[in-house]
Structure formats: C-alpha cells, structure tokens
Amino acid sequence: MNKDIAGHTVDVNEEGYLTNMSQWNEQIAAAIAAEEGVGPLAATHMKVISYLREQQAAGAALTIRSMGRSGVVTTKELYDLFPGGPLKKASKIAGIAKPVGCI
C-alpha cells in the first residue's frame, strides 16, 4: 500500500516498513525517525543506516551481532541510538525490511 512520508509517496507494508528500498531518502528517514521516537538523526545514526542499507543490498542477514561487530557501532550504542528496539527501528528508518523469524 502507499503512504505519504515527508511529501513522498512510498510503498509500505502493514507495519509501515518500506517495501522498495530504492524509494528511500534522508527526509523519509527523518520523518520515520520522528514517528518512532528516535531523536533527530545525527551522524552516528546515519552511519548505522548506511551500513544497514549496504548489507540489505548485498543480501546479508541483519542481526544485532553483525551490527555490533561491524565496527560501525557497538551493541550498547545501538540501543542508545534506537531506544526500544534497534533492529526494528533502525531497519524502518533505513527503509529496509524488519528482521523477522519464520513465523
């Protein structure tokens, strides 16, 4: 389905995650971040978001371990940057799919 985010029409799923990562831009990221209660996006946020988008494009699985060990940011920092659920929030802001289980 469509949603208007920051003046752009994007395709999203029922939970508001972008289904087409190429539709993303930084204004969309900022708008989603505000919705998710994540403060204004600083350079460290954007470093994580770039990393996530690269990993997604390369087809790599997104896990806290890979993020924590990426050298981009530590696991503790991830929780500080994206309080309440780094995986689900960072991926939404980055315009990629939420990491999910099989069910």
């Binding site: 699985a61 890979s66 659920g85 995986l87 990491p99 289980g101 099989c102």
Partner: protein, 409 residues
C-alpha cells in the same frame, strides 16, 4: 579408480543425502563416505518433549549406521580441517581424506560460551537449555522437582535451529504445570530479541492471543548483554532486566567448529551457499545442506528434506557438467505444539509467509496456521515417519520439495 563423494555429518541432512545419492550413483564409479563424530543419531525434535517426560530417551536415540545405506562407508571421526582447494579433509587424528565432491552437512551447535554469565556455577542448576541431549536431561530432572517461581524462556540471538521450539516450550510448560496443579505458583515469561513472539503479519494476527490465553508474558527487542548468576537476572544492553528463578535459554547457535578452523564460514560459522542450487558460492565441488548453510531459510529438518531433493538432482547435474537447477525455494513445514493436546502446522518458503489453508491436499487433512488435535497427532506420528521414511529418502506422498502457493479464495 573410482571417484569419492564425501559427506561430512551423519545427522538428518547427511543421512538423507547418503540415501539419495547411493541409489543414483554408479557403485563402481563412485565411492561414498559419511563422517560423523558420533555413532548415535538423535531425533532433535524430541528434545522439546524430554524435559516434560512426554518422550523417553529410547524414542529419540538410534544408531547412525542403521540409516546409512549399504555401499556407503561410515567413518566415526572428528573433522579437523576442510581444504576445498586441495579437495581434502584432514581429520583431528591426522588422517587425510581426499574427495572429488564434498557435501557439508555439519549442522549447527549451541554456543553458551558466547553470552557472558551463561556458563558458570549455575549452568544446569537454574540456567538450562534443551537444545542438547545433556541439556534436555538436566532440565527433566529440574522440572520433576521444581517447586515453582519465575520461569523465563529466552532466545539469545537469531538465527537458531527450530526457531519455534522456545515458544513451544513455553506452551508445553503452561500445560505441564497446569497438569501438576501448580500453574498458579509459576509465572512464565518469553523473552526474544525479535519484535514479537510472532513476527509475520498473518501469524501474528491469528496467533498472538495464544500467549495472553496461556498467561505467558512477553518481553521483546531484548538482546541479552549478560546473565547475572548471583542476582538471577537476565540483563539487556539497554538496562532492562528480567529476573528469573529458572531460566530456560536458547544459547547462540553457530556452525560447527570445523567450519571456523577451515575459514569457510561467516561470523557465526555458517557457510555461504547459493540459496536456490545449494552449491557453495566459493567452491564448485562443494555443496552445503541443512543447518550448516547461511541460507535465509529456517534451520529445520523439513528444510533439509526439501533441500535434499534439489541437491541430489544438482549433484548429478554437476557430475555430468550440466547447469544446476535454481530450484530450491526455501520451503519449510513445521508442526508447532501449542499445548493441551493441540498443535499448529505452518508451511512457508522464501516468498510466502505462513498462511491459512489445508495441507498437503486442498481438502487437508491438516489445517494450516490453526490449532487442531489432528496436527498434534501429526507431530507425534512424524517421529515414525522420520525414522522409517524421511531419513531413508523414501517418497512422502503429496509433499513436494517446492511449496505450493497459498490458495486465494
């Protein structure tokens, strides 16, 4: 001089491949060997039932050799290092085994050492796991006499094999303590690093009520930083803490240590594998199946079964110099115990999430994504199917390697 097809791992995937390929490869042209550290084959889905006394050990332990077909050698040995460039495997005892084709089916193991505070004096005292035979046994002893308190069921990080088993454990615990008339003395909390107990929309909509119905509390987005054994507390990186009296945790799952020693895996020791052909992304004469791969499919026996059918065809094509089939679709099919004599059945693949409907035929008899007593019967009957049909790679009528798309009404 015959060629050699070597299979590392005599678990579900390795045993199925031995059976699949022995009957299709010419015996004079191809010698086959399966290597495993153990002479025993364990029915891993049974570990869930052992702590509650629902299964006995004799139900879930057999001799590996009984399932390796004639014409395949079984070598009980520990794998040291795999060197695909040299088409050789060195065993821990120093022996070198060379091969023409290699199938890695070394599975995945639990790694409690990966979480600070998991091992230590309280491990197998009030911190347990049921993902190994020893763990399931120790938990059985604990549950038999546990007077009650805070039971916390926990997943440390994803991926894990049999991803629904911790949830099943929670459901079965609710039934177990109810049966013992002590459910009011037990609180059950399910702690997950994911954003819900059910993360796929259809399943979440249909099944989320189960936790509330059974009085199971849910803590989500929780990445365990450490376990504080002195205070009996599970601590998250963001400062949240979950206190427990009995912690049933699922440690980090990693590929076999031999994969790490060989430099063949990612940071969890899973091997980069083509998700449709099952060929290694790096080495053409190497194929990978089951829990050892890095595929975005579940780590489950049913997945190994569905993979095996495509893999067998592709091994033959590879031998003939033909292009491989990009056929495997991530198909997985799992029974999920929901307690009180009922179970769910889910069927999904890379493309389709678990959905409602009937299985395996349009008329059923199993219901998908819905609790039923028939599904529960099916889960238990499956053990017979596993030993007698699945492991021997005999056909399962109506059950195809690729998932049938959901029927839209």
């Amino acid at each position: 001089m015959s060629k050699h097809l070597l299979i590392l791992g005599g678990g579900t995937a390795g045993t199925i491949m031995a059976n699949q390929l022995r009957r299709r490869l010419c015996k004079t042209e191809w010698r086959m060997t399966v290597v495993d550290r153990s002479s025993k084959h364990l029915y891993q889905p049974g570990f869930l039932f052992l702590p509650f006394g629902i299964y006995q050990e004799k139900d879930i332990i057999r001799e590996t050799r009984d399932f390796i077909p004639g014409g395949v050698d079984f070598l009980q040995a520990e794998v040291g290092k795999i060197t695909p460039e040299a088409h050789a495997v060195t065993l821990q005892d120093g022996r070198e085994v060379s091969y023409d084709l290699l199938i890695i089916a070394t599975g995945c193991r639990t790694a409690p050492e990966e979480t600070a505070g998991m091992l230590g004096p309280k491990w197998r005292d009030n911190i347990h796991d049921f993902y190994t035979l020893d763990g399931a046994r120790a938990l059985r002893e604990k549950l038999a006499s546990w007077p009650g308190g805070k039971l916390v069921v926990h997943i440390n990080e994803m991926p894990i094999k049999c991803p629904v088993a911790p949830l099943e454990f929670s459901f079965l615990a609710d039934t177990f303590f109810t049966g013992r008339r002590m459910r009011d003395k037990v609180s059950i909390t399910y702690v997950t690093p994911l954003s819900g107990a059910f993360t796929k929309p259809k399943a979440a909509k249909k099944l989320s009520h189960l936790l509330a119905d059974k009085g199971i509390e849910l803590v989500t987005d929780f990445t365990a930083e450490k376990i504080d054994q002195e205070r009996n507390v599970l601590a998250c990186y963001d400062g949240r803490e979950v206190p427990y009296d009995l912690l049933v945790t699922t440690p980090t799952n990693m590929g076999d240590a031999a994969i790490q020693r060989s430099g063949l895996g990612d940071d969890l020791n899973f091997i980069a594998t083509n998700k449709h052909t099952l060929q290694s992304l790096k080495h053409p004469d190497l194929f990978v199946i089951g829990d050892a791969t890095n595929l975005p499919a579940s780590k489950a026996g049913s997945v190994a079964h569905f993979e095996s059918e495509t893999l067998a065809d592709n091994v033959l094509r590879h031998i003939e110099g033909e292009p491989l089939k990009e056929e495997f679709d991530g198909h997985s099919n799992c029974f999920i115990e929901s307690g009180n004599g009922k179970a769910l059945l889910i069927d999904f693949n890379y493309e389709y999430e678990p959905h409602e409907g009937a299985f395996p035929f349009f008329f059923g008899p199993m219901k998908l994504l819905q609790e039923s007593r028939l599904n529960h019967w099916g889960k238990h009957a499956f053990r017979w199917i596993y030993w007698h049909i699945l492991l021997r790679a005999l056909p399962l009528p109506g059950i195809s390697r690729n998932k049938k798309p959901p029927v839209t009404a």
